[in-house]
């Protein structure tokens, strides 16, 4: 289990992570979704004790990473940035990590087999392709057979076969009861990989829900209504077959004030809500058709071509990759990171 409480990280004036709180439960794959620059990698480094937050805490199984006595047997991490010396062999990289934990060198061979790097184990890591480097990173993460795994954009640079391999690996680990926390800026990838989603944008939490629920909600258009008489308006909307929730989900919107309460309405269009309010004499302070979660997400990713829709089986705009299995969205990407 991973718990982040009120994490904030600033680099100069740039707030990379902004009062972020969430919990990652064991036994399922939790996706960490957000556009490039949203703060995913920074959050992972904070959880791993590599960077220091300005405020907040992160714990793994109840303890800060820096106080773990058996770190690699507790947590395995694949970071976004390369962390291998180019003139050191894959085997020696894993060997020194194993030695620091008091593990036998046979464990190194086991993980090399696991990721399919046995043949190149004694080659310089500097000559590895991106995909091979990712596999080496996964091998390092798996070294201690940890209960908790953090994988930062693990499918980056992998061929479709590799993508499928990682996806299966994560599912298998989660079903073995491990905590699997995996980041991606691709909603498609998360839709087929993750059971649960934590979505962030500009360092802030946008949504946290099951993947199914997220997709369902993303397809609903909602309307934001602000009124001093929420009870009456809710009654009217429910009577018309609409649905009302607290309207404070989207980022960057003010919470309800004293004078008026924000409601998110689904199932009714904005003009119809306006008519209902007018006919009943209910005052509205705001009536705005609001982007769905996905649109909110898309807005944050604007300019990023590799981000597509969640439409299952559909082709992404801007991606030439064919779907790698039937019924699944294309996930391979030539990323621009």
């Amino acid at each position: 289990m991973i718990e982040a409480r009120d994490l904030t990280k600033r680099y100069g004036d740039n707030t990379a992570v902004d009062h972020l709180s969430f919990t990652v439960e064991p036994g399922r794959v939790t996706g960490f979704l957000g556009p490039n620059g949203a703060g995913k990698s920074t959050t992972m480094r904070l959880i791993l004790g590599l960077d220091r937050p300005q405020s907040g805490t992160a714990t793994i199984n109840g303890r800060p990473y820096r106080s773990l006595t058996d770190p690699l047997r507790t947590v395995g991490a694949l970071l976004e940035a390369k962390s291998v010396h180019s003139s050191r062999s894959a085997r020696n990289h894993l060997l020194f990590l194993a030695q620091t934990q008091g593990m036998p060198s046979t464990r190194v061979d086991e993980v090399l087999d696991l990721v399919g790097l046995h043949a190149v184990a004694r080659k310089r890591a500097g000559g590895f392709s991106l995909g091979m480097s990712q596999r080496l990173g996964i091998a390092a993460a798996m070294l201690g057979d940890p209960q908790v795994l953090l994988l930062d954009e693990p499918v980056n640079g992998l061929d479709p076969e590799g993508v499928l391999w990682i996806r299966n690996l994560m599912k298998q680990l989660a079903s073995a009861g491990k905590t699997v926390f995996v980041s991606s800026h691709l909603m498609n990838e998360m839709a087929v990989t993750a059971d649960h989603l934590i979505v962030i944008g500009r360092g802030k939490l946008i949504a946290e829900s099951s993947t199914q629920e997220f997709i369902a909600r993303s397809s609903d258009k909602s309307v934001l209504v602000r009124t001093p008489d929420p009870a009456r308006l809710t009654e009217l909307i429910l009577a018309e077959g609409g649905k009302v929730t607290d309207g404070e989900v989207a980022p960057g919107e003010a919470a309800s004030s004293e004078a008026s309460k924000a409601l998110a309405v689904t199932g009714l269009a904005a003009p119809r809500i306006g008519e209902l309010a007018a006919s009943a004499g209910v005052v509205l302070h705001e009536l705005s058709p609001r982007a769905s979660l996905e649109e909110a997400f898309l807005e944050l990713t604007s300019g990023s071509v590799e981000f597509g829709t969640h439409d299952p089986g559909g082709q992404q705009p801007g991606s030439q990759q064919p779907a790698d299995e039937p019924g699944h969205a294309s996930v391979a990407e030539r990323s621009a990171r």
Partner: protein, 282 residues
């Protein structure tokens, strides 16, 4: 590449069965694997040995050939006054730059390659990683350093044999020879500490070389006796006193005091490096 889509079974808790938390000996082993498995180590040590022995031999041979030659009198006098210091001060004086470079690289490449993140994930308390690295590196430089200093001593004294007779049995000689290897070791740690503080290869190497070669020249320009006093306490100048078999008249410190000053400088820098290693983002 072999890439089975089938996931190999995750091995059943084999690495976790009946284990104890890894100790400092494990960290030493890990750092040893790190240091021996990159080319820069091998190359730096080859340069250290070849340059030290090569230039010691070259200097001794040129000196011997030109003994009593025109305008050689002051030089010959210097050599006669402390032949050991002259032998150890030439080739090793150049070869020690390889130790400076390797010491800096051993930390800065952790940052330039990103290995520092893997290292710190494995040792999240951080200081033990730095300590293990320092111990392993110091042991390596001590062994190679003593080989180089003894080798230089025997080589140089053999070539100069017909002009000056030196042996390890003479007063101060064994201390100077062994001490020069020790000073090389401390120099390596000094460079490593600067590498850890600066974290960028070019900047760290430039700083180390600056402190070793340039700073003494600058402080020499200070007015009056200031220059001599400041100079005496500079890391490299103080550390270099150990190579003198005979203490010179103007020395402000004894050889061991000088070595102690060098050790204190190095210890302070390592402490600062450890402090910042814990504070800074990796």
């Amino acid at each position: 590449m072999t890439s089975a889509t089938q996931v190999a079974p995750v091995s059943p808790a084999s690495p976790t069965a009946g284990r104890r938390a890894a100790g400092f000996a494990h960290l030493l082993l890990g750092e040893w694997t790190k240091i021996r498995s990159v080319r820069s180590t091998i190359w730096s040590l080859i340069v250290l040995v070849v340059v030290s022995l090569g230039f010691t031999a070259l200097f001794a041979a040129l000196t011997a050939a030109n003994w009593n030659g025109p305008r050689a009198a002051p030089r010959d006098a210097t050599i006669l006054a402390d032949p050991v210091n002259s032998i150890l001060g030439t080739g090793i004086g150049l070869g020690q730059l390889a130790v400076c470079v390797l010491g800096a690289l051993i930390m800065t490449t952790e940052y330039s390659t990103g290995v520092i993140r893997a290292s710190l994930l494995a040792v999240p308390r951080r200081i033990p990683m730095l300590a293990a690295k320092a111990v392993v590196f110091a042991a390596l430089i001590f062994v190679v350093g003593e080989i180089v200093t003894f080798g230089s001593f025997f080589l140089g004294s053999a070539i100069l044999h017909s002009h000056v007779a030196v042996s390890l049995g003479q007063p101060g000689v064994a201390r100077a020879v062994i001490g020069t290897g020790l000073a090389l070791t401390v120099l390596g740690l000094f460079a490593m500490a600067i590498g850890a503080l600066i974290r960028h290869t070019a900047g760290a190497i430039a700083t180390v070389i600056g402190v070793v070669l340039v700073l003494p020249i600058l402080t020499g320009l200070l007015p009056g006796s200031w220059g001599a006093h400041v100079n005496a306490y500079l890391p490299e100048q103080a550390g270099g006193l150990i190579s003198q078999a005979h203490e010179q008249a103007g020395n402000l410190l004894t050889p061991w005091q000088g070595f102690g000053v060098f050790c204190i400088w190095t210890a302070l820098l390592l402490i600062a490096a450890g402090y910042l290693l814990r504070r800074r983002d990796a």
